[in-house]
Subunit: 132 residues, 2 copies
């Protein structure tokens, strides 16, 4: 699939990495990159994002009120090992390594016969800063 390294591909990935505490829509990414003169075509943005999502480097989701998808860098496969808490006020994504949550997963399986998909799960709420 992604076989060639291109300037555009690197630009997009770098942008997401450098702003990994925030999420963006495709349109926002396009605009932001255009501001710094690194203009990418709309289609390219979508195509590369799709790949990053498939490759597990980027998470795609739809914010509650939003009409379009948001994308956020979550890093390499390493993120499978912990949980994600996402603040829907500021957009901050917290990566949490937590025994309690590990046990939660076991509890749910045992008591409710349900296998939690920790890779996909994102726990929404409000972070410390925003809850004041």
């Amino acid at each position: 699939m992604s076989q060639y390294n291109t300037k555009q591909g690197e630009t997009l990935l770098r942008f997401l990495q450098e702003n990994s505490s925030r999420h963006f829509t495709a349109a926002e990414i396009e605009t932001q990159l255009a501001l710094t003169g690194e203009k990418l075509g709309k289609a390219t943005v979508y195509r590369r994002l799709d790949r990053l999502v498939e490759g597990g480097k980027v998470r795609r989701f739809v914010a509650d009120d939003a009409k379009s998808c948001c994308y956020q860098y979550i890093g390499d496969g390493h993120c499978r090992e912990h949980f994600h808490l996402k603040c829907y006020k500021c957009g901050e994504l917290l990566h949490v390594e937590c025994d309690y949550l590990d046990k939660m997963q076991a509890h749910i399986l045992e008591h409710h016969g349900f296998t939690v998909d920790r890779e996909k799960i994102t726990i929404c709420g409000v972070c410390e800063k925003c809850s004041v």
Copy 2:
């Protein structure tokens, strides 16, 4: 807002209630109702769904792969008191009353300074039947 009771409004609500273990896109709802001769206009479907979502009777979300919104009946305000586990294979929505999860919420607040929004949270995974 919703002041008049109409045949269309009742038809839609009844359909969702009777199929509360499943979720549907707006288009699916339209099609299903048309099959039983209870044809609703596209716009009406969207407008009534919006209201039901605002009123808390229906949950709107975007399935991982899907391109469009899904809607599922979750009942009256009562659903704020428990947690939802959703199977992404069969679509079943489990309503779970669980001390452990209550404590989880407390734990996350205490140890991670994060206020979980239990109304919005849906824990995704695979249910008992589908995990075999």
